[in-house]
């Protein structure tokens, strides 16, 4: 009878232990404000380590972490690797290119092979939405899974480092107005940011984009839709620019790069619509002259470079918390 099936209104949150601690980090969805705050506080404790002579803590000594990147990435993988090493874990980096055929089989075989090597944690990036959930729920439930970006779905560690950045620069989330600008349609970063900002209590989340780059019904996640920069940026405290992929720029979704820049590119002039103390963020890598002017990207309001640094601390926090939850559950099973 259908009542015995998973109730879609209350999906089992596969990323939490029975007592509500993190054991995977798959998406922001379904996490409490307390848990997100715990991640930020833990990240804060790691944040100053980079300046110390000895940059390591022994929290994950003896653990094996595998960075499984089915999709190219330089910065994200590098910060995950550094985060793992600063936690004293052993790290294996695997870049796996997927052909369009037999993707599922390659994924499963790869995972089973690595599982046989007794890995403790997978950091996974994949171009299909839901891959991290799939691995955590179907393939390797006993390995902690950290989602480093899946399709258009989620990029929760990026969102948390962005929240960390906002909290560092703005102090708190209450009363904040945040605008996210650009290619929302293809952005997993935006989706995770919208969730996190709502949970943490931001006053307003705005999405600014042409209608071709706005997913249908996205406002139901808790966001207001704007199609013009002037109204969208008015009085906001934080401006988050998204990267526009080259292949989206010509024809199908946008007429041209030049028109996009003219309408939505963040220039000094458009930034003036925002609050005078507004900060400018970007998940990187930036396209200068496409979504952001160099003078803004390198200007005094930009915190883009700080974001990269905070990424390491945030990922250390998530990895140590998930490993601890996973170990606790393993002990309970034994």
């Amino acid at each position: 009878m259908s009542s015995t099936l998973n109730n879609p209104a209350h999906p089992r949150n596969v990323q939490l232990t029975a007592d509500g601690r993190l054991k995977h980090f798959l998406s922001i969805n379904g996490l409490s404000k307390a848990l997100l705050t715990e991640i930020l506080d833990t990240a804060e404790s790691f944040a100053n380590m980079g300046g110390q002579a000895v940059k390591k803590v022994p929290l994950l000594r003896g653990k094996t972490i595998v960075n499984l990147f089915f999709e190219n990435s330089t910065r994200t993988r590098a910060t995950f690797e550094l985060a793992a090493k600063r936690l004293s874990a052993d790290v294996l980096n695997l870049d796996i290119s997927t052909s369009s055929t037999a993707k599922g089989e390659i994924l499963m075989d790869t995972l089973h092979n690595i599982e046989a090597m007794y890995a403790d944690m997978f950091v996974v990036r994949h171009n299909d939405s839901g891959t991290a959930h799939f691995i955590a729920s179907q393939i390797t439930p006993q390995v902690a899974i950290i989602n480093a970006g899946d399709g258009r779905h989620a990029h929760p560690t990026q969102a948390m480092l962005d929240m960390f950045t906002i909290r560092r620069h703005k102090g708190a989330f209450e009363g904040l107005k945040v605008a996210i600008v650009g290619d929302i349609l293809h952005s997993r970063v935006a989706r995770s940011q919208i969730r996190a900002l709502n949970i943490l209590g931001a006053a307003e989340v705005r999405l600014v984009a042409p209608k071709t780059l706005l997913p249908v019904g996205i406002e139901e996640m808790g966001a207001k839709i704007y199609t013009r920069m002037e109204s969208g940026l008015k009085d906001v405290d934080v401006v988050i620019m998204l990267r526009l992929q080259k292949e989206r720029m010509s024809g199908a979704l946008l007429p041209s790069e030049a028109e996009f820049y003219r309408l939505y590119g963040l220039t000094t002039q458009k930034l003036a619509y925002a609050h005078p103390e507004a900060i400018v963020m970007h998940p990187g890598p930036i396209n200068r002259g496409v979504e952001i002017e160099s003078a803004v990207a390198d200007g005094p309001r930009s915190v883009i470079l700080q974001q990269v640094g905070y990424g390491i601390a945030t990922r250390m926090a998530v990895m140590s918390m998930a490993m601890s939850g996973q170990m606790q559950e393993r002990l309970q099973v034994q």
Binding site: M1, G104, L107
Partner: protein
């Protein structure tokens, strides 16, 4: 061989019959209902006390995977699963490997079905050669070889001129065309219902207009060509409205809905469970209610299983790259009984939607218990508890959310052409 089925509650919508009455069978045919005819001596008596007796169900869309990848199933396994689910006849989709676009391949399917000797197989031929949407198939030949209809499934037709020619040519032979309405350009690379949930989950969406635009276009061409047409697997409430309007204007079209779309919505995608990756996609709750209402009102005349068995690996993948479809022949009856319990339809309507209506729209002398009709009938225990699992399931595909789930209501005895195929009243697979 003469068989009497005694004391069952006979439900036959064709005769507007719902009463406890005996049925007598001689050879392949129904001999009569009621008191034992003078001189009729049964060789076998089946006591149907407490059971429902109904005409065997007829499925409008079923994938038998034969010819094709046998690891997904074959005619023997799937036709057996059909019988277990109460389907004595099943329409076989043309997207086999190779596709059912020539009389020779249709004959192969029929021969294999006869050899298997389970549910009777009604081949549905390809509307275009290779289902490629460019050249007309040999429709007259397909009809002579035994195809009950033609369809291009969801494969796109190159343009409206070719669609028009296809419909005109099918109309020449009064051949039924099954239309799976979907605008392939609007569908694009989508695989989920376009709406707030697909946007949140980052799943590529298929807009409602992919279906409604295709329905509108097809309705106009049906009117123009005068073809007999059936719309398969509606998924949106708007499409139900379109069909209702067309019917009200006198256009002789019919429509069905797949069982899964009466039960589930896109909310089930939240956990990325690939069992819910279906074509057409599961849509909103408003759409599901619209489909149920359409079924209740009779705008949708039939329910089909849309049975698509898969091997495990096909579903062990991230949602977007998993293969679409659900194995469902064996759960249609218990799930439809739940809809009866919830008041969406009566038991008589259940039989009508699964047996009589499909027979009518296919133009078959079947789906009813008239004297002289082939004795295809089933005995149902509507309260029997059972579990769908390795012991009870015959389908090669275990890709259903009901796997290992408790179910209520089961076919306990099944007769095809007057022959008892199984009788759970005495021996059954996995009976305990």
């Amino acid at each position: 061989m003469r068989i009497s089925i005694l004391g069952g509650r006979v439900i036959d919508p064709a005769q507007v019959l719902d009463q406890v009455i005996d049925i007598h069978i001689e050879g392949e045919h129904i001999f009569g209902l009621g008191a034992c005819p003078e001189g009729f001596k049964a060789d076998q008596i089946i006591d149907a006390t407490g059971l429902i007796v109904a005409p065997g169900f007829i499925d409008l869309c079923c994938h038998l995977r034969d010819p094709g990848p046998s690891y997904k199933g074959n005619i023997a396994s799937e036709a057996q699963a059909a019988l277990a689910g109460g389907f004595t006849q099943v329409c076989a989709r043309p997207d086999t490997v190779p596709p059912l676009d020539s009389p020779a391949i249709v004959r192969v399917v029929r021969e294999r079905a006869e050899l298997a000797g389970k549910a009777k197989v009604l081949p549905v031929g390809a509307l275009t050669q290779g289902l490629e949407g460019q050249l007309l198939s040999n429709m007259s030949g397909l009809q002579s070889a035994g195809c009950v209809a033609v369809t291009n499934l969801r494969q796109p037709i190159q343009d409206n001129l070719i669609l028009r020619r296809c419909l005109e040519y099918a109309a020449t032979f009064d051949l039924l065309v099954m239309i799976y309405p979907e605008d392939s350009a609007l569908r694009g690379s989508g695989y989920s219902h376009e709406g707030p949930l697909s946007s949140q989950l980052g799943l590529a969406g298929i807009p409602e207009t992919a279906e409604t635009l295709a329905v509108a276009q097809a309705l106009l061409l049906i009117e123009q060509t005068g073809v007999r047409a059936h719309f398969a697997h509606l998924s949106t409430a708007r499409a139900v409205e379109q069909i209702a309007q067309a019917k009200a204007q006198g256009l002789p079209v019919t429509a069905d809905v797949a069982l899964s779309h009466l039960l589930f919505t896109d909310a089930y995608l939240e956990s990325f469970d690939s069992n819910f990756h279906l074509e057409p996609p599961l849509r909103s709750e408003a759409d599901r209610l619209g489909l149920l209402q359409g079924l209740k009102d009779g705008v949708i005349s039939a329910v089909s299983s849309s049975h698509l068995p898969h091997e495990q690996a096909a579903k062990m993948a991230p949602f977007s790259v998993s293969e679409p479809g659900m194995s469902s022949l064996e759960v249609v009856l218990p799930q439809m009984l739940i809809l009866v319990e919830k008041g969406w339809l009566s038991l008589s309507d259940l039989v009508k939607r699964l047996a009589f209506a499909p027979a009518q729209l296919l133009g078959l002398k079947s789906g009813a218990l008239w004297a002289g009709y082939k004795a295809d009938l089933i005995l149902i225990d509507p309260d029997a508890p059972w579990v769908l699992n390795e012991q009870t399931s015959f389908s090669a595909g275990h890709n259903t959310p009901f796997w290992n789930q408790p179910l209520k209501g089961r076919v306990v005895t099944c007769l095809v052409d007057g022959q008892v195929h199984f009788n759970h009243l005495t021996t059954i697979k996995g009976d305990d």
